[in-house]
């Protein structure tokens, strides 16, 4: 007799000894048994008058938890210069190979970020991103953070590759759009340490001279309905529609984290 036969025998013996099945649910009485077929309606009726807990998305959007990993954002310093230095550390950290960066040199005429280097091309492919947040951990300048925005669906593949202008944070009230020179007398380290707190007159002057039409100049503010800095690039109409929708609906809760 093999071992397995033995097991079967034991099991059979145990089965023989087992008690018959007994439900531990409360058993209906005779009246209950008569109404049993329609008792389910009672459950329905009871819940009919309870308050709803279903989230009414997309009619009503609810803010997720503050540290929810949503769409990325490329931040700016208080004077409007970009924080991204194009170091590609985010791209390096990304386990999904979702980020593509090409850096370039800042020049006196086109200073996008403090220091010598800035990110000229910046793309995140949301078809690949798994929202792990490793990229924002890697970023040495806090240029890359994540917002709470989660509406990242679209009808085209290209539309889900977000370009730099799609990811850049909206211009704050007192910011001046890049490119423009750094605050006179500062070096990149001053920016990294957080010592630059506002736009200075020289910067405004510079932009006035080089881009008098710039909507972020104090005199031009409020002349445009929509903040031009936060428009999705116009690769496809579908994408643009998504973008408008996002802009309209998310203004109040963007930038939740950091």
């Amino acid at each position: 007799m093999t071992e397995s036969d033995d097991v079967w025998k034991v099991n059979r013996e145990r089965d023989g000894q087992a008690k018959p099945f007994e439900s531990n649910l409360p058993q209906a009485g005779p009246v209950g048994k008569i109404f049993a077929p329609v008792a389910g309606f009672g459950v329905t009726m009871r819940n009919f008058f309870k308050p709803t807990v279903t989230e009414q998305y997309p009619e009503k959007k609810v803010a997720p938890m503050p540290r929810y990993h949503g769409r990325h954002q490329l931040n700016r310093y208080a004077d409007g210069l970009e924080k991204c230095i194009g170091c590609e550390l985010c791209a390096w950290a990304c386990p999904a190979d979702a980020i593509y960066v090409e850096a370039d040199s800042n020049t006196p005429d086109e200073q996008y970020s403090p220091g010598e280097r800035y990110g000229r091309v910046y793309q995140i492919n949301y078809l690949r991103c798994i929202f792990c947040g490793l990229c924002i951990e890697a970023c040495p300048t806090r240029a890359l953070t994540m917002t709470n925005e989660y509406e990242l669906a679209g009808p085209t593949r290209e539309g889900l590759i977000y370009e730099k202008q799609d990811l850049l944070a909206p211009m704050g009230e007192a910011m001046l759009a890049a490119p423009h020179p750094m605050v006179p007398g500062t070096v990149d380290d001053d920016y990294y340490r957080g010592d630059v707190l506002k736009v200075v007159e020289e910067q405004t002057e510079w932009v006035r001279e080089n881009r008098p039409e710039d909507p972020t100049l104090p005199e031009n503010r409020g002349m445009h309905e929509e903040n031009p800095e936060h428009r999705r690039s116009e690769h496809s109409d579908a994408r643009l529609n998504v973008a408008r929708h996002q802009t309209a609906n998310t203004a109040s809760w963007r930038g939740g984290s950091i």
């Binding site: 590609e88 550390l89 090409e102 280097r117 040495p140 300048t141």
Partner: protein, 828 residues
């Protein structure tokens, strides 16, 4: 075939123990190399196998114990730099892996190195491939204890338009300065100041911060007065172990993990240097030197490194162009374009009054392309009118090449050049025209006598410590003939292993190659021909010359013609054909029915090339870019640049330098395009693939006895070079100039030497010129350049660069070196 085997001299060896592992190495080996032998890695910065030990960075400290006089193994009191200490019998070495003291010492050194290092890795180009980053992780402390303010420098300091130095990142390893001094001989940067302010810099008093001191040593300035830039400066960027030296072209462009690296061969000169092409998304970002100990060792020229933008400029063509009814070029499909090309060629080659077609493949070709051109001309067009030498050339040269060079396999090698006790350069500037050839020669500085037959002692020759035999162009034959008897050069060349190097410019000097052969015979020295461009040797091997068939066979040898005709399965025309100069001249006179032009830049061609293109009824251009030829072409077929095709360059040694496709695109190499075109013409060339061509060339082999051209016997000409109204023009290409393959690279162009006209002192006095701008004029045109009176120069000669800014000799003067020109202007 490869370098002659080293004499198996019994090498004295030494046995020692490293980390408990017994290792036996030749005497004199450095500890760090011995450790490499057994796979023990010691961190290092300044150590570089090709440079002399310096012991500058102290990162390689290890614990060493060695036997004393009594044979007791005693430890050294302090850790020792393993990159400067040679091994000793019975030594016991403990690296960081087994010795705490060594580990602690290395960590300490690393901490010190990092004190003033900005740690700006995120914006540093070296980030991701940085020995400092890597070794700080493997052999450094995990936390920094430094809380004070770091020393900062203004950054970057532009050493030249191409090389930028961020001094704060520098770890003062002196690899760059040692390279510049030891290898390139251009001491344009050096260690300056001391203590915390010690830094690498140019010889600039502002940097040095000492007032009134003259720069010491050869703080060479070129004629423009700007600090002298080197042709090899890019190598310092590659060997800098941190991101202190960067190149303007690559600065902030990418990260190593972005890049796909493909090994390749440089298309810029006949050395066939091994390079690594780094590309991203189909675009080349940079090129680096690949190590190839038999050819370029660890180094390449700046042209090899930085000049790659040309192939992707805006005028790159990817689709065929056909000239339409309206006289404009229009994009066409391949079948349309091939049909149009075939129709044009057929019209020129068949019929009663057909004038025939001629082929100018250019000398940037690979072996496969050259072979295809050669076969195409003979079989599909039925002509021997093919010549890759759209430069100064002669029948004497063709005979010389056919008789002694073509199909001779590996002759004189880089190693032979290095070992040669004496070298005579004739019509060849090692630095300007040879690139890494210069570095090999310079490696033997002090052990090798160099003589140069040239109009003046160029900077390159000066760095080789060469003895000038001042010679006017055209007089090289006489100069070579004069190397006899007890002259120093003659004596030196008699030594075993001596080498005579002749350049392509000797073709312009009647009798010079004849005399070079005679000299080689007289002295027993080896003779080698080193052309300038990458495709010269391949064109020769493949028979892309009017009088030569593949393998050095003469078109006038019946048996050679028969062999080739049998192999090709067709009939060959009767030869020989016209050379490039004759083709151009005849075409300009309207006597050529069709021209097939490969990589030829009209502004490089002396003679009426534009008229030739203009007057020829049908011009077919095979080009990478929509160049000047396209302006006249009836059909333009796009071909692949070297990075987009596979092929083989044949370097001057005769070594096959095969390379694979770096960036796969649908661009086709010339050999494939010609194969398709020939089919359209009803001929099957079977040159569609590299493998097919290889098989054919292998089957053909080289010329049998008696099938080669006769060794040339040409009388030397007399040159009339004396101070006076007309001077003999001397000229050669500078390494960095305005050549077509250097376009689109302004940073590299900025490192080129300033174009000047040079004349000898006596000539200057006779002409009443001492300074200022002179006008060098021929019957065709003139060039204006600042004049430099050059000591030791041959009299009656004026030298100008061939294609430097403001000095396009072929286009402006329209004459070849050796011609008479006038020099006017300047101030007394």
């Amino acid at each position: 075939m490869t370098a002659t085997p080293e004499k198996a001299a019994a090498v004295e060896t030494v046995s020692l123990t490293i980390d408990g592992t017994e290792v036996t190495v030749p005497k004199g080996t450095l500890i760090i190399r011995a450790a490499e032998e057994v796979g023990i890695d010691i961190p290092r910065f300044c150590d570089h196998p090709a440079l002399k030990p310096a012991g500058a960075c102290r990162q390689c400290l290890v614990d060493v114990a060695a036997p004393d006089r009594e044979g007791n193994v005693r430890p050294f009191p302090k850790p020792q730099a393993s990159c400067t200490m040679t091994v000793m019998e019975g030594m016991v070495v403990n690296t960081q892996h087994t010795s705490e003291a060594a580990d602690k010492a290395q960590k300490g050194v690393m901490e010190l190195l990092l004190i003033n290092h900005p740690l700006d890795c995120p914006i540093c180009d070296k980030g991701g491939e940085c020995p400092l980053q890597n070794q700080a992780m493997s052999n450094g402390r995990t936390e920094s204890r430094f809380i004070d303010v770091k020393r900062v420098f203004e950054k970057p300091l532009a050493l030249s338009s191409e090389i930028l130095l961020d001094r704060e990142r520098c770890v003062l390893c002196q690899r760059c300065t040692r390279f510049s001094k030891e290898i390139a001989g251009d001491a344009f940067i050096d260690l300056q100041n001391r203590g915390a302010m010690q830094q690498i810099g140019t010889f600039n008093e502002d940097v040095l911060n000492f007032d009134g001191y003259e720069p010491i040593g050869v703080a060479a300035e070129d004629e423009s007065g700007k600090a002298f830039s080197s042709y090899y400066s890019g190598n310092t960027v590659q060997i800098c172990p941190v991101g202190a030296l960067t190149s303007a072209a690559y600065r902030f462009r990418s990260r190593p993990f972005d890049l796909v690296s493909s090994p390749s061969i440089s298309e810029h000169d006949s050395s066939g240097s091994a390079i690594r092409v780094d590309h991203r998304r189909g675009k080349i970002l940079r090129r680096l030197a690949d190590q190839d100990m038999v050819v370029n060792e660890d180094w390449i020229t700046d042209k090899d490194r930085f000049a790659f933008a040309w192939q992707n400029l805006a005028d790159r063509i990817t689709r065929p162009l056909v000239r339409g009814e309206d006289g404009e070029l229009h994009e066409a499909s391949w079948p349309q374009a091939l049909a149009a090309a075939a129709a044009g060629l057929k019209a020129a080659t068949t019929g009663e009054d057909a004038q025939g077609a001629a082929v100018l493949p250019g000398a940037r070709v690979t072996l496969e392309d050259a072979y295809a051109y050669s076969k195409f001309a003979r079989l599909a067009l039925g002509t021997h009118d093919i010549d890759a030498r759209t430069r100064i050339a002669s029948d004497e040269e063709q005979a010389f090449l056919g008789a002694t060079v073509a199909g001779s396999g590996l002759g004189v090698t880089f190693a032979d050049l290095e070992k040669a006790p004496a070298v005579l350069l004739a019509g060849f500037e090692a630095e300007d025209e040879g690139g890494v050839v210069f570095l090999r020669l310079r490696k033997s500085l002090g052990r090798q006598q160099v003589f140069t037959i040239a109009p003046f002692l160029s900077r390159g020759a000066e760095k080789l410590d060469a003895t000038l035999i001042p010679t006017a162009p055209g007089g090289e034959g006489k100069a070579l003939a004069a190397v006899k008897g007890s002259t120093a050069a003659s004596e030196a060349l008699k030594a075993e292993g001596a080498v005579i190097v002749v350049g392509e410019r000797l073709a312009g000097s009647p009798g010079a190659l004849t005399q070079a052969l005679a000299l080689a015979k007289r002295t027993g020295a080896k003779l080698v021909w080193i052309p300038r461009r990458a495709g010269e040797r391949a064109a020769l091997e493949a028979g892309a010359l009017p009088g030569l068939l593949p393998g050095g066979r003469s078109v006038t040898s019946a048996s050679a013609v028969q062999t080739v005709a049998d192999a090709w399965g067709g009939t060959l025309p009767t030869g020989p054909g016209r050379d490039a100069a004759a083709i151009v001249a005849d075409a300009a006179a309207g006597k050529v029915g069709a021209l097939v032009v490969g990589g030829v830049t009209p502004s490089d061609v002396t003679g009426p090339f534009a008229e030739a293109l203009e007057r020829t009824p049908f011009v077919l251009s095979l080009e990478v870019r929509r160049g000047e030829v396209a302006e006249y072409a009836d059909v333009v077929l796009p071909v692949a640049p070297p990075s987009e095709k596979a092929g083989t360059f044949v370097n001057w040694e005769g070594r096959l330098r095969g390379f694979a496709t770096a960036i796969p695109t649908d661009a086709m190499g010339d050999h494939r395009v010609l194969d398709l075109l020939a089919r359209e013409l009803g001929t099957d060339l079977q040159t569609g693939s590299v493998a097919d061509v290889y098989a054919q060339i292998a089957a053909l082999g080289s010329a049998a006895k008696g099938e080669r051209p006769e060794v040339p016997k040409v009388e030397t000409a007399k040159v009339d070079a004396k101070p006076g109204a007309s001077l003999v023009l001397a000229s050669w290409h500078q390494l960095v100039d305005e050549g077509a393959l250097q376009e689109g690279e302004p940073y590299l162009a900025g490192t080129g030497r300033t174009a000047v006209a040079r004349i000898a002192p006596a000539t200057a006095v006779a002409a009443g010129i001492a300074d200022g701008v002179v006008t060098v004029a021929s019957a065709h045109g003139a060039i204006e350049l600042p004049v430099v009176v050059t000591d030791g120069m041959a009299d009656g000669v004026v030298w100008v660069p061939t294609k430097s800014p403001g000095s396009w000799v072929a286009q402006e003067l329209g004459v070849e070196p050796g011609a008479l020109v006038t020099v006017k202007g300047g101030v007394a």
